[in-house]
Assembly symmetry: C2
């Protein structure tokens, strides 16, 4: 198929498809003549992935490119790719003294929690820096309920991750597996956040009887 049909099949405008091709999110079609190319089902699927990661997962075009590059390239470790997929900037502005101190304290907290659970994780993992940043920020904001919840978060996320990894192990080929991990991780973040909101509403109603909720439907 050519670009027009690809556009119709995927619901993405021709202009955007051209843009994604330029940005390397979508591999070029197979050449049928010096300036003509043919696309196939793989391109339709890829476009759906792209839209899912961008619209639902909230990734930037650049992050989506990196993540998809890791899906294509068996040599890129997954956690590196998924680190890029963190919507959070993880950037620090001015490394003021108290900032550094807060970060150091947060890092000790995390390290202790990780050791206690017996997790084998590297501090190369971008998620490590992100977690430290959140903890440090929370501490600077005054209360530290979040740090108190850290143990629980780790416990439940280990449960979640174990199931996720288990499901993914017996897939088929490696490409589909990796793709499943990536999509599951990125979209899973969004789903988990939404489910957390629903759970919070339910629990606050349950514990406080705060808001009268009319049932669905």
């Amino acid at each position: 198929m050519r670009v027009g049909e690809l556009s119709r099949r995927s619901g993405v405008s021709v202009a955007s498809i051209k843009y994604y091709l330029r940005e390397g999110l979508l591999p070029p079609g197979e050449r049928t003549s010096p300036n003509q190319a043919a696309y196939d089902e793989a391109h339709v699927h890829r476009l759906r992935m792209v839209r899912a990661l961008i619209d639902v997962g909230g990734l930037s075009v650049a992050a989506t490119r990196d993540v998809l590059a890791a899906v294509d390239d068996p040599d890129v470790p997954l956690y590196v790719a998924l680190g890029r997929a963190s919507s959070t900037t993880t950037a620090q502005d001015d490394p003021a003294d108290d900032q550094d101190e807060a970060r150091a304290a947060a890092e000790r907290t995390l390290a202790a929690a990780v050791d206690e659970r017996g997790w084998a994780v590297s501090d190369e993992n971008p998620a490590w820096r992100t977690a430290v940043g959140v903890l440090a920020t929370y501490a600077r904001l005054g209360d530290d309920d979040l740090s108190a919840q850290l143990g629980l978060y780790m416990q439940v996320m280990e449960e979640v991750a174990r199931r996720e990894v288990a499901v993914v192990v017996d897939r088929g080929d490696r490409a589909r597996t990796v793709e499943g991990v990536v999509v599951g991780t990125v979209l899973g973040d969004t789903l988990l956040a939404a489910v957390r909101r629903l759970a919070q509403q339910h629990c606050s109603l349950e514990l406080l009887g705060e808001t009268p909720i009319r049932p669905r439907g």
Copy 2:
């Protein structure tokens, strides 16, 4: 204090402070003369909140404004404010037929899962639409492992939410409580995602022995 000191204390540039004032993220200082204002500790704290929500939570300026408005105004239901805080756009482009169908199926899946857990949640909750969107997207992408995990996600998030709500119940005044909920929810999303990545790394190592990890430190 005046703007210069507020800037120094908070690490936010004067230009940005003026911008936040314009955008309503920061309440105006108390007037000491027709064109002079004084700021206090509350402004320093507020600025820290703003930076935390934007930098760590990944919220937009507009979302941050809405969330903080809810913190200030007791009449705005919390879940409405926190719905705005979802980084995900939750937008749909072309409601094609199969799109609608996928959404409807996803909505039935969610409703069934919610009923099974006995959750009292309203479909007014923005998180409901987000969750439906994620499920629908995942279904359209081919496999539906995510839907298979939905029950687990709900189970662990109920556990998490119960603890979070419990911690927040016995706070002191309502303002501090609400603030704690908001910050905990927004930063918690980021923390949970990061912890999930770490857990995934740990579990994939544990189950597959996939990557040799050198220990921290």
